[in-house]
């Protein structure tokens, strides 16, 4: 895979505050990359650095293999973005708001405005003043602004903020459909479940440092933390497992089963010792943490 966005040692200090420190982010072509972090972790600052809204203290950003310092105009023709809350002119309609951006971008036919507004579900209200829109509609407008230039790379900061469940599902569908057409996404979000089902790769930033970057599947497979076991008689099963020195812990799960803490490589041994002790094993399944549990444990 080709890296469509790569940051190298990206750093930004504000006085003594190290807002972003040596971030080496890699978004590959075709990714829906989830960028996670707590409030103040440095997500938005990193996105602003990528888009050159803020100048880095050091480091560089390569998009499509080109340095944003030297080829900003060429790069930005193929990049769409929504940074934090959608920004708009409240006295203009959605159509005119996009017309302003169409003129600023250049090379976009006027028909694209209606097309993209219909795509995000604003087709019926596109000539109404944005000042009269609900928060969810404004969020959709922000996404439409990002998608206007038919970008190859879209950077979205909290794209589903303020959307109702139907809106979240609709926008997820739009993003996934565009991704299938070859658009790459970098999405920062707090909605971990949403990231888990939408993104294929994830980066986690903490106190300005990128502490982890991997595929969602890779992270989830690494987060297997033990086994859920059901056997008869349950008391015997618990006694046998508690006696094994390679098992770190045995607890009841409150639903008649046992939660066994051990390495994934020892799962077969659990089954073997129970079988040897005459316990009838009814269920033996790995316990996986969700992305949210993993994120909160970091």
């Amino acid at each position: 895979m080709t890296a469509i966005l790569r940051t190298e040692g990206l750093t930004r200090h504000f006085g003594r505050l190290r807002a972003v420190e040596d971030v080496d982010l890699v978004v590959e072509e075709g990714d829906i990359y989830g960028f996670l972090g707590l409030n103040g972790a440095g997500k938005s600052t990193t996105i602003r650095l990528i888009l050159r809204l803020i100048r880095p203290t050091r480091g560089r950003v390569l998009i499509f293999g080109r340095d944003t310092r030297t080829d900003f105009l060429g790069i930005m023709r193929q990049v769409g973005s929504l940074v934090e809350l959608p920004a708009y002119y409240p006295y203009l309609s959605a159509w005119k708001n996009l017309e302003v951006l169409r003129l600023a971008t250049g090379g976009i036919p006027p028909s694209r405005i209606e097309e993209v507004l219909r795509l995000v579900g604003l087709g019926d209200r596109m000539h109404d003043r944005v000042g009269t829109y609900s928060q969810g509609m404004r969020q959709r407008l922000g996404i439409a602004m990002a998608l206007l230039p038919r970008p190859r790379l879209v950077i979205l900061d909290e794209p589903t903020n303020g959307l109702d469940p139907h809106g979240v599902s609709h926008i997820r569908g739009v993003l996934q459909a565009l991704n299938r057409e070859g658009v790459t996404f970098l999405i920062s979000s707090h909605l971990l479940h949403e990231v888990e089902i939408t993104c294929n790769r994830v980066g986690i930033i903490k106190e300005g440092r990128l502490i982890l970057q991997d595929t969602v599947a890779g992270i989830l497979s690494r987060t297997t933390s033990g086994l859920s076991v059901r056997g008869d008689p349950p008391a015997r099963a618990r006694e046998v497992l508690a006696a094994q020195p390679w098992i770190r812990g045995v607890t009841e799960d409150g639903q008649g089963g046992i939660r066994v803490e051990c390495d994934p490589g020892d799962f077969a041994r659990v089954n073997a010792v129970l079988h040897e002790a005459g316990v009838a094993v009814r269920e033996l399944s790995p316990v996986r943490r969700t992305l949210e549990e993993f994120f909160l444990s970091q």
Binding site: R48, L51, R52, L53, I54, R55, F72, L73, G74, M76, R77, V79, S81, V83, E84, L85, A87, Y88, Y89, P90, Y91, L92, K96, E99, V100, L101, L103, A104, T105, G106, M145
Partner: protein, 276 residues
């Protein structure tokens, strides 16, 4: 670059023309010269040099002087919102993440502010002319006591043309004060307030200075040339101060002021980190 700036100027005008404040401002500017003409003639009466009726150029000088003052304030409001309004709403992020440079955006906004300023100037000029020609009469200025022509028609219209031209650049410079202030602060409310206070305070302080020192302020020239026009149209014997007329102070002072306002405004915009 010219194409990018041209597109951005079009975008600026799309925003401007949809802004309801523009139409409120135009309404005020349409009425300001008329109010000034009516108030001036009501307060000070008909001048003795005028034959039969008010002279149109005399009325024009009343109306245009205060209409231009109102246009200056409107221009200041718009220009000080030019950048600060974008910072305020966060729409500057939308603009700066498009394939345009900060220089493009700056030039487009400066050009738009100048074009808007010019439009407001012409608007007030025409409004003043319409009222002046509707109420007053054109022709020579007469001394009604002695039946003498004090001012030839050609002389007075030439004087008026020159006064209008001399007042343009000093007026336009006020807009650039707005652009500088607009880059200082990220709040459009503060920007408008600071720009108006700076302008009015500067104008007031300049008024306390000796006449020679007043000539160092760009805001001096608009009222100065239009007061001279009024005096000329009323048959007065005053002409331009030679230093101002032949020394081109009415061009040099505003141009120097522009040179002082624009580079820091550009530097502020160019180096600003966009957090909001």
């Amino acid at each position: 670059m010219i194409a990018r700036v041209g597109r951005l100027v079009r975008a600026e005008f799309l925003k401007l023309l949809s802004n309801p404040f523009l139409y409120i401002a135009l309404g005020v500017l349409a009425l300001a010269p008329l109010a000034s003409i009516l108030l001036q003639t009501f307060l000070f009466g008909r001048k003795e040099t005028v034959w039969r009726s008010y002279h149109a150029i005399q009325l024009f000088s009343y109306g245009f002087r205060w209409g231009l003052h109102a246009a200056t304030l409107v221009q200041l409001v718009f220009s000080s919102m030019m950048f600060a309004g974008e910072f305020d709403r966060g729409t500057i992020r939308n603009l700066l993440t498009r394939p345009v440079t900060r220089t493009d955006v700056f030039l487009a906004k400066v050009a738009s502010a100048a074009a808007l300023g010019t439009f407001l100037f012409v608007f007030v000029l025409y409004a003043s002319l319409v009222y002046a020609l509707g109420i007053g009469e054109l022709g020579p200025v007469w001394d009604s006591d002695h039946y003498l022509i004090q001012r030839e028609y050609r002389a007075i219209t030439a004087f008026a043309r020159k006064a209008v031209l001399m007042s343009f650049l000093p007026y336009l410079t006020a807009g650039f004060l707005g652009i500088l202030v607009s880059n200082w602060t990220e709040s459009s409310g503060y920007a408008v307030a600071i720009a108006l206070v700076l302008y009015l305070l500067g104008d007031m302080v300049a008024g306390w200075l000796p006449p020679a020192a007043q000539q160092n302020f760009f805001s001096f020239y608009g009222p100065y040339v239009l007061d001279k026009l009024r005096s000329y149209a009323e048959g007065g014997a005053e002409f331009w101060d030679k230093r101002i007329d032949e020394g081109l102070l009415y061009l040099r002072v505003p141009l120097l002021t522009l040179a002082a306002f624009l580079p820091p405004a550009y530097l502020l915009f160019r180096t600003r980190n966009i957090h909001g």
